[in-house]
């Protein structure tokens, strides 16, 4: 922002002194752009372990470009090797089943990749440190200034406590996934597709849905310099009262992983760098180094990280937040059909109508009102949902 503003300052001086802003393509050599990006992890909490391989893209044209057809192999320090298979549906995603007998704390893993063009990529070994159980997870009322509106927003912030006791692990990362129930305003009862239909009893299957999202923020903590391996009230995500999340029930899955120092350092840099693409001039740029190497051409950088970790998880559930007024008003706006069905065209069919047991009204209900799947959730209740 500052940069832009100063440039505006200078622009005005530029009226006295002609100045100019011209599109400019910095001369970045292709080898600095075309880097392999590898992310992968083995952990003691899952059966399938994945590695994703992609190419970085030019800054002017950002896109995810997966790399298919690689041969990928994870091996441990005892010489066990596991070959990963590329997913049929998701190119660039490779996975393998590794039995839990191999995933004990203290074991080290690395990945070896040979791409279709013969480039060999190898990671350093990363060792599984022990992970303590997830401590208490709780929330407190909080207020932030919205990035979009500049207005204050009330909500809750989650916290967790860490007590790693006598464990050697000093580096932690949390992945947080939220699931919440939301509802649309009306069930499906009346619709028009040339003629009017009545569904009875009304179809409630699209009225209640559950949405699950991974929190994109990265949460890292090092206790390496604390006296005790304890940390209280580590702040996690903020949930605003201006969304539908806190109305009908909210669940948070906290996956706590213990990391090696290298992995911590990588993810901490990722955390700092994750302000998004807009805040380019508010931070000192940070070049992130991972633990992958190009064996064919050692001068070429490989982005990403392959890590081994132990993971403990915990799920909490909140049915409602006392003292927090919900400021969410849905997106449903029924529209009165002043000229009757003549306003509708076949592309609108089926056009849902407001109504009750006896009759319908000439009021159109858009998908916002009758279809919770429209918002991207699922209408199958997750099995962890308590009611």
């Amino acid at each position: 922002m500052y940069q832009i503003r100063i440039i505006k300052f200078l622009l005005v001086i530029g009226l006295l002194i002609p100045s100019c802003i011209t599109p400019f393509q910095p001369d970045i050599p292709p080898e600095a752009v075309n880097k392999y990006v590898v992310f992968g992890q083995v952990n003691d909490n899952s059966e399938y372990h994945t590695v994703t391989i992609s190419m970085a893209s030019p800054v002017s044209d950002p896109q995810y470009s997966p790399v298919s057809g690689c041969s990928v192999r994870i091996s441990d320090d005892n010489g066990n090797q596991f070959t990963l298979q590329e997913s049929l549906t998701e190119p660039g995603v490779y996975s393998a089943h590794i039995g839990s007998q191999y995933l004990a704390v203290g074991k080290s893993f690395k990945v070896d990749i040979i791409t279709q063009d013969g480039t060999a990529i190898e990671s350093d070994y990363d060792r599984i440190p022990p992970c303590p159980e997830v401590g208490e997870v709780y929330y407190e009322l909080d207020e932030i200034i919205s990035e979009f509106t500049g207005q204050p927003e009330k909500g809750i912030r989650f916290y967790t406590d860490l007590d790693a006791g006598n464990l050697e692990s000093r580096f932690f990362k949390w992945n947080v996934t939220e699931t919440w129930e939301y509802r649309v305003d009306y069930p499906r009862e009346w619709y028009y597709d040339g003629t009017v239909h009545h569904i009875y009893p009304p179809d409630y299957s699209r009225k209640v849905c559950w949405s699950t999202e991974k929190i994109k923020e990265i949460y890292t903590l090092s206790t390496s310099d604390l006296n005790a391996n304890i940390y209280s009230k580590f702040p996690l995500n903020f949930v605003s009262s201006r969304t539908s999340r806190l109305i009908y029930g909210y669940s948070l899955l906290i996956e706590q992983s213990a990391l090696s120092e290298e992995a911590y350092s990588f993810w901490d840099q990722m955390r700092i760098n994750s302000t998004g693409l807009g805040g380019l001039y508010e931070r000192q740029p940070l070049s992130i180094t991972g633990n992958l190497h190009n064996k064919t051409d050692p001068d070429k950088e490989v982005l990403g990280f392959f890590g081994a970790s132990s993971v403990r998880s915990k799920r909490i559930f909140i049915s409602s937040v006392p003292d927090l007024p919900i400021e969410y008003v849905g997106y449903c706006t029924p529209v009165l059909l002043e000229h009757g069905f003549a306003e509708l065209s076949p592309s609108d069919y089926p056009a849902w109508l407001m109504g009750d047991k006896e009759r319908y009204y000439m009021t159109l209900l858009s998908n916002d009102c009758v279809d919770c799947l429209y918002y991207g959730g699922i209408n199958i209740k997750p099995d962890f949902w308590p009611y």
């Binding site: 500052y2 940069q3 832009i4 503003r5 100063i6 505006k8 300052f9 200078l10 005005v12 001086i13 530029g14 006295l16 002609p18 100019c20 802003i21 011209t22 599109p23 400019f24 910095p26 970045i28 600095a32 075309n34 880097k35 990006v37 992310f39 992609s54 970085a56 893209s57 800054v59 002017s60 950002p62 896109q63 995810y64 200034i145 500049g150 204050p152 991974k214 994109k216 903590l221 390496s224 310099d225 604390l226 350092s265 990722m270 700092i272 760098n273 994750s274 693409l277 380019l280 001039y281 508010e282 931070r283 000192q284 740029p285 940070l286 070049s287 992130i288 180094t289 982005l303 990403g304």
Partner: protein
Amino acid sequence: MKARLIIILTIVLLIHPEIVAQDGIIDCHLINSSFRAFSETVFDQTGIRIYYRDEWVSKLEISLEADSITVREALDRILKGTGIEVSDWNGGLVVLPGARLFSGLPAYAQVAPAEMKQGRKEEVMTVSEARYITGRSPGVTQSIVIGRPGENRGSNIVKALGRVIDAETGEPLHFVAVYITEAKTGVATDVNGFFNLALMSGTYNVQIEFLGYERKRYLFEVFSDDSFVLRIRKTAVELKEIVVSGERHASIRAKEPGFDQVSMKSVRTLPMMMGERDILKISATLPGIVTVGEGTAGINVRGSSSDQNGFYLNRIPVYNTFHLFGFFPAFNSDIIRDLSVYKGYIPAQYGGRLASVFNVTSRQGNRKRFTIHGGISPITANMVLEGPVKKDTSSFLFSARSSYSDWILSRIKDPSISASSARFNDFSGGLNRDFRKSQLSLFIYRSYDYFSLSDINSYEYYNNGASFIIGHNYTNTLRGEFTVAGSQYGFSTTDRQQPSSAYRHAYKMGHYEARVDFRHLLNEKNTLEYGAEMIYYMLDRGTVSPFLDISQRRTVKLGVDRGIESALFITDSYDVTGRIKLNLGIRYMLYTPVGPAKTFQYTAGAPRDPRYIEDSLTFGKRSIIRWYHEPEIRASLNFATDKDGSVKLAFNQMHQNLFMLNTNTSVAPNTQWKLADYHLHPSGSNQLSIGLFRTLPQSGLEFSAESFLKLTRNYSEFRDGADFLGNDPVESAVLQGNQKAYGIELYLRRSRRKLEGWISYTWSRSFIHVDGDHSWYRINNGEAYSANYDVPHSLTTVLNYYFTRRLFLSSILTYQTGKPVTYPESVFYSDESPYLDYSKRNFYRIPDYFRADFSLTVEGDLRKNKLLHNSFVFNLYNATGRNNPYSVYYRTQNGRISSFSYSVIGVPVFTATWVFKLGNYVSD
């Protein structure tokens, strides 16, 4: 009296003497007698009359014991070294101070043979030619008698205090080179025109050289301790003159390594930007000094950051030396007399900055008459008023300058621009007064800048300062200067782009200083300079507060820093032999941040991050937070290899307690100063430099080559990923590491020719290395990287061509390597979120910089007596119209990142300026 004397001379010289008077023999037995008694003795014994005036000889005490001595011989003994000459006249003898009557003209014939040969012998003794003989004209030796014969008791060393002043304005002159041929030493005058001499009694040839002034030779006849005044006159530009071999040594020998002095006179011919002549920007055409592009307020000296330079205007520290983001100097160039830049050997009296000291001194004002001058350019107008308060002893100087660019903006149709505003002004006033042994000088200064963009953002800043200096000559060899100076710098900015997050931020800092300086000439070999200094800093880093009620911005207090910097210093300038000169100095620096303050304590070894705050410490008012103290050694050795060249070595240790938080990604003019505190330590540097200097007098060339190595520790740099606008404590965003800079500077100058100017080339590198045990103490993975201002190649040529004395063309060509930059190289995805993959820090460079400026000056006529002198200056800035990127930046548009280059001036700019002044061409 003079007129009468001259008439006498004219008559005298047309009559051939018939009697040779010195043949008379006398016996003389006089002890502590007067000259009158002597002359009566002579008349009584020989009948020879001695003609004299009482005031010429009243000082003389005569003790002469001799028998059978000629009158002439006796007179020679008595008058030896007094500057009084004896001539035969009409059977008698005439004694005249500083002049001799010629019985014939053989010596004179050698001086002006051409005229003699044309048979003008009879007319030779016109009035003007007689004046020539008595030494009023340049090139002719004038005698200066220092002390009285016979008074030199005790030691043989005579200690004298000299002063050089402008004969026309009465102003003392600074940096005049006084070169004593026999002693092979030179000395430069100080700000008040003073210089001290320690010489054996005897007769010396002395050369005085000062740009824009007539060159003078004096015969110093030194008897005893005394003070004296030399008056020199301005001269129009000298062209095609013969440079006398050996004469230019004074400037070369007096120069310390890494010292540059720019006088305003020497730059009056250079191209101007927007009609303004900027002495600081001109200093950047010298080797080792770089400004990175236009529109920057910073100057980088020898691979150092811009906050490592100290700027002083008549001892007032100036924290923002430019108007309008670097386009104009923050003071009126018309009052500036000279600029001295110390970048190699920095004398111990200066401290507090790692790289350089820029001392700007203003003129003191005309002491003889009132005068007014000014200039009008498309953007600014300025005016200077000066004159005597009391003739010859005191003077005032007042200058005012203001921009009037708003009317241009308001005429532009675009509403967002016509509602914008850009203006600045500055004022300064000085008062100087001489007492019998003291000099008093008062100077005040104010500059102000305001900029607003169409009610979206506004920005203003100011410098206020004052200095009060009393100089006192205790003896001819001991001079003291007592200074109090204060300066305030502040800015305030309002950001209204988003009404709901609009904010206002005001920042101010104060620098209050008291110091004493003594210059003590011990003997003919040693001069001591010593003193003490104390500075109180107060930095109110301000509060970011919401602007208008609608703003929901949270108020953030950035805090207040206070600190006291004190120093004791002493330097001995030791003239080892005529060829070797040594300066050895030590400065002891003590710095204490003081309370009230609150600071955090972080877990030992953990990153300084808010997450690891363990405790906080509170310091009460005036309590000392930490002691930092260290000695600094300053040394230079100057070895004259022969009469035209020298080798110079310097070693310099410096400390800096105040630094600027700056980044290379943002060019915010509101970058803040920060004091060293509990966590951030003062930075220190060691610099070693070596230089070769040579003059080629016959061709008017001067050449120098210097090389330096500078190592800095505790250099503060933003850590990777630091949030510039965050509210976290500064120490969590800043790491301290090492800086290493080295380079070679070449300089070739040709002077006093039709085509004159200089070429300077600098090759230098500057790297920063921040490494630590843990990744969070590293920048760029612990690898060294180019500093933001690392400019390996910098070439500047400054050329003037005089068509006539009144019409000349000048040019400046500048080439620089582009400055380093960190680019995002690519975008990659993790968990469907995009991340930018940045290059290593400062791995890339923006395109190279090149600019050519030309200026044509037409001076008004050169008549001496006139009311107003006019000149017109036509400037062409960036003649090739090259689009020099000032910065490259990125913007997110529709989810895509686009890159742009921003050039401040991408086309040629033509300006015309009218400059007027009361008086003639040479008037100040």
